[in-house]
Symmetry: C2
Subunit: 181 residues, 2 copies
């Protein structure tokens, strides 16, 4: 059985084709930006920390790939992306090996998810890795899950995939597919 | 994204090969027995209701397949199966279109899961569809999840896969893989 992050990548891979517009809402170390760029998608990636852009830029260069890297909060996605998207990915929490007080915040996260849901085409998917072991993580998890649980089942399939016998609050996955507008 | 039952079938299909010994702990209408027989596995299937055996026998005959159908409770699996198994499947709840007061009970279910875990080879998997909308279902769900959450993460991977925005308590999936003895 796949680990949650790998399952999330598979869910995106199943629907994202070369040239599709996709969003990495939380650039971090650039793992997901790189993954999406390897699918030959047109990637727009967001982070509020300059260090995230530097790391991601370096990894893309090394792989000979490119993406549109934006130094801004994902709550302003629609300021940069206005056309349809096929997919999006979120890693909630903090930038690994960086300042742990700079974390994603429920209000911004939900604003960003809402914008992605609006831009998403039918059949498109959003995957969200929820890290919640850090200070403030549990509150964000609760708020995000409450928001997602209220999405109409006629319009969205929302699935949760999680290890249930592990210590130390391992991250879990939520996948959303738009069924109809 | 797959529906939980289909994801559970996929998890079994990924590890069960022709000739492998597998268990359907809850025969019911024979859906899962048929699925396992189609993988050319050696299937032993349990149910306490004669009607379940009749339905399953008819479906197997129609498909030109066979399985070892046992009219007994799954809490006595080890009275019938003593060798290693590669997989097992459970559908908790009641036999569809039958007497809704005849339901699986937490005590028996957990006894059956324990026996399957003992018989399971490393790399083998157990998938459990948890229906809990019926009377008594919530108690069984809670007890089974508590038991599974206590399996040591060094020995077992235990994953939960569930829709989180649907009404009417739709069933969800738990998958268990034995990592080491």
């Amino acid at each position: 059985m796949l680990r949650p992050l790998n399952q999330g990548h598979l869910w995106l891979k199943e629907v994202v084709n070369a040239g599709d517009s996709v969003i990495d809402a939380t650039m971090g170390n650039g793992n997901d930006t790189l993954f999406l760029a390897q699918l030959k998608a047109s990637v727009t990636a967001f982070d509020i920390q300059e260090m995230a852009l530097e790391k991601t830029r370096a990894r893309l260069e090394l792989a000979g790939l490119s993406a549109n890297l934006i130094l801004d909060g994902h709550e302003r996605i629609k300021d940069y992306v206005t056309g349809e998207i096929k997919g999006a990915i979120f890693n909630l929490g903090y930038l690994p090996s960086s300042d742990k007080t700079v974390i994603t915040q429920a209000e911004n996260t939900i604003a960003a998810i809402k914008q992605c849901l609006e831009l998403l085409v039918c059949g498109g998917r959003i995957v969200i890795m929820i890290y919640y072991g850090h200070k403030g993580g549990a509150e964000e998890k609760t708020a995000v899950l409450a928001f997602l649980a209220n999405l109409l089942q006629e319009n969205f399939q929302v699935m949760r995939y999680q290890a249930i016998n592990q210590k130390n609050n391992p991250p879990f996955l939520v996948g959303i597919e738009k069924l109809r507008d």
